[in-house]
């Protein structure tokens, strides 16, 4: 099985090994024909109407605005409806540094997203703390507080890089299992099992 993204060839992606591994995992568990087809339909729907939550803390947010403007036009891929409320969004794209004061707020926003939900760490600061890693109040990467699906490096990433990252998310969604053993959900559960005290405390 090949994960298809419109307008982008399989060999144009650089980390096919990772997606192939997910495909193998999916194949190994096996699925009912009916459920499998339904899965594909649902995933196709989710992947092509990903609505972001407006969550930009610094420079990357301005590049994200460029992504929404006419030249890059993310509407072509179904990413355009940037939502201001987490209840209506599918994924949270963390654009910018997360500092101590922001960390609980971000966690709360994540918890408020409706399932299925995804996290993209966009830009050096969200990936690892970036140039501010050594600061006294910077979270060194959002993966310390959230389970991240896609990392987009750059300072800030070019709009093309953001597209690449968003397409990777689409590919990941296309191989997820909506019914039965949901491989993504397990990962999220694993993450929170490793960070137990946080989940309990944040309502």
């Amino acid at each position: 099985m090949e994960v298809k993204i419109k307008g982008m060839k399989h060999e144009d992606f650089k980390d096919n090994a990772y997606i192939d591994k997910l495909v193998d995992e999916l194949n190994a568990t096996g699925a009912n024909v009916m459920v499998g087809k339904l899965d594909q339909l649902i995933n196709w729907g989710i992947a092509n109407s990903l609505w972001p939550l407006c969550f930009g803390t610094s420079c990357c947010a301005i590049e994200f605005m460029s992504l929404g403007a006419a030249r890059y036009d993310m509407a072509r891929f179904g990413f355009e409806v940037a939502r201001n409320s987490p209840r209506q969004a599918d994924y949270i794209m963390v654009q910018g540094t997360i500092v101590h004061r922001m960390a609980p707020v971000l966690r709360r926003l994540y918890e408020q997203l409706a399932e299925p939900k995804y996290v993209i760490a966009c830009g050096g600061c969200a990936v690892s703390g970036g140039p501010f890693k050594n600061s006294y109040c910077v979270v060194p990467g959002v993966e310390h507080i959230l389970p991240v699906d896609v990392f987009i490096p750059g300072c800030p990433p070019r709009p093309e890089a953001m597209f690449y990252g968003l397409m990777q998310l689409q590919r990941k969604i296309k191989v997820q299992k909506f019914f039965g053993g949901v491989n993504r959900q397990e990962k999220i559960n694993d993450f929170f099992a490793k960070h137990p005290e946080e989940r309990g405390r944040i309502d």
Binding site: I62, E63, A70, T97, H100, V105, V139
Partner: protein, 543 residues
């Protein structure tokens, strides 16, 4: 200079003086408030602008350096240094009743150094969480992450405040207070809100739909840049400037480079100067275009946003060709610029200048003359000239209140004194004036570019600089006109290769300081448009 020195000696006999780049007045804490009042009110001195408040830790003492400017004396600047030796409970008299801008500035100093300001109305932390342990910019700060782990709980809303009031007998006692009144209905806006232009949080007390008071809660993107700089060499510290006000990246970096060059006594080649100024003006155009787009979008005019971004992409293309990046360009370096201009640079800039007047007309047709925009912006967010000066609101927002404060005119730096451009001044004192100043500044920036584009001289793009840059012992302060106002850099050096203290005086910090003043009495919906017209960038406030 000496006449000021004489007059200050008369006002405060115990003051001592240090010569330097600007005259530095050393004053004892007990005399400080009296001197400040005299400096502001004495005829012939009239230091009406408090340009910078810089907290300091000299190890054996803590203190504050105030940079004061007198507009009536041709924007002459002096610095005043106040020191206290008590590290456990340091206290300095507040000047927030003389210069309103000091209100937030002193809270910042309290946050970083733990210096309490006597008679300050609202002594709370500003950037850090209210349960933060320690004062991070002190030299003996314990940065152990165990002391301040990544928090997992929301902090409590801080409704209580404290004020250290000096009684008649000279005794200081802490007087608890409340941020809001007992029966206030408080609406929370932010930190995750698309129209606060970043992660700013406002708590607005409303009476029906009318705003009574706005409490600014900042620090949701406070990254501790000033502390980080202290551990880096000068060339390493440069890149932070691009990430503070990312819409004034070139100007900010220009400022820091100039400050270091001034300290080194380095002459920047003419070609580099011209390129720098051109980049600054391109950045200003890009910033004002974004501001136009965002103001329009905050009012619901999404189409205008696309128009603004269309031209902004042209500017970004110019940056990309020459600097290699669309944002965070990292272009200026100490002694010049990092790379020569792209062969297409002149052509692209000419194209931009050619189309801009047409496009501006289009903007005015689409948005500026629109009845909804006029109703939402005109006579909203009144800020008088006196308040603009007192709150040190510089940049387009200050000039929208008819205050002539353009740093390019009052402290001409680089090659600005040779250029022919007008300082745009409007006297509406409202959101619409601030917005229109920006639109007219785009024209002026184009005018500057037009003068320079065919006259980029040949020559080196950077001066020879030593591999290891060490500044001599001393202190320097440099200001430039960034897109949003006067941006200042203060460097204190002990002769090492890293700064002892590097302070960034950001214009947006002052802009957010007037939110309470400009929003009170207007509708809650106007809070968004007032914020949009003031056009602050949050990472510049928080640093």
């Amino acid at each position: 200079m000496s006449d000021i020195q004489e007059r200050i000696s008369q006002l405060c006999p115990s003051a001592t003086f240090e010569e330097g780049e600007t005259l530095m007045v050393n004053v004892e804490e007990k005399d400080w408030y009296g001197l400040a009042k005299a400096l502001k009110e004495t005829k012939g001195l009239e230091f009406d602008v408090l340009s910078a408040v810089i907290g300091m830790d000299w190890k054996e003492s803590l203190g504050v350096i105030y940079y004061l400017t007198s507009t009536s004396r041709g924007w002459e600047m002096i610095a005043v240094k106040v020191q206290v030796t008590d590290r456990v409970n340091p206290m300095i008299h507040s000047v927030s009743d003389l210069w309103k801008v000091a209100n937030f500035q002193e809270r910042e100093v309290y946050d970083f150094y733990g210096i309490k300001f006597i008679n300050h109305p609202d002594m709370r932390r500003f950037f850090l969480r209210n349960d933060w342990k320690g004062y991070p910019l002190r030299k003996d700060y314990d940065a152990d992450p165990k002391l301040n782990p990544i928090p997992t709980e929301d902090e409590k809303n801080e409704d209580d405040t404290v004020s250290y009031v000096e009684g008649k007998d000279g005794k200081i006692k802490a007087v608890p207070g409340k941020v809001f009144e007992e029966n206030d209905y408080v609406v929370n806006i932010g930190p995750q809100h698309p129209s606060t232009h970043g992660v700013m949080r406002f708590r607005a007390a409303v009476d029906g739909e009318t705003v009574k008071k706005v409490d600014v809660v900042s620090g949701y993107i406070h990254r501790g840049i000033e502390k980080l700089c202290e551990g880096l060499t000068y060339p390493q510290a440069l890149h932070f400037t691009d990430r503070m006000d990312y819409m004034s990246a070139h100007q900010n970096r220009h400022c820091l480079c100039m400050c270091i060059e001034k300290a080194m006594g380095l002459e920047v080649p003419r070609r580099a100067q011209v390129i720098r100024v051109m980049m600054d003006e391109l950045m200003r155009i890009s910033s004002h275009l974004l501001s136009f787009g965002c103001t329009a979008m905050d009012l619901g005019a999404t189409t205008a946003f696309f128009y603004g971004f269309r031209e902004r992409e042209m500017v970004l293309d110019i940056f990309e060709k020459t600097c290699g990046a669309r944002m965070s360009m990292n272009y200026n370096v100490i002694g010049g610029v990092i790379a020569d201009i792209h062969p297409d640079f002149v052509k692209d800039v000419k194209e931009l200048i050619r189309i801009m007047p047409e496009r501006l007309k289009e903007y005015h047709k689409v948005f500026s003359g629109n009845i909804i925009a006029m109703n939402r912006l005109k006579k909203v967010g009144h800020l008088s000239k006196e308040d603009a000066i007192n709150y040190d609101i510089t940049g387009p927002s200050g000039r929208g209140s008819n205050w002539s404060c353009d740093c390019r005119k009052v402290h001409p730096y680089s090659i600005y004194s040779e250029l022919d451009f007008e300082e745009v001044l409007l006297d509406g004192c409202d959101s619409y004036s601030r917005y229109m100043v920006r639109m007219k500044e785009i024209e002026q920036s184009c005018k500057i570019l037009e003068q320079l584009v065919d006259r980029i001289p040949e020559g080196d793009i950077r001066a020879q600089v030593p591999k290891v840059i060490k500044l001599p012992k001393g202190r320097w302060y440099q200001q430039v006109e960034a897109s949003r106002g006067t941006f200042g850099v203060y460097i204190e050096s002990t002769g090492e290769k890293n700064p002892y203290r590097l302070h960034f005086q950001s214009p947006c910090f002052n802009l957010v300081g007037v939110m309470n003043l400009t929003c009170s009495g207007y509708m809650i919906a106007d809070l968004i448009t007032i914020g949009a017209a003031l056009d602050f960038v949050i990472p510049d406030i928080d640093r």
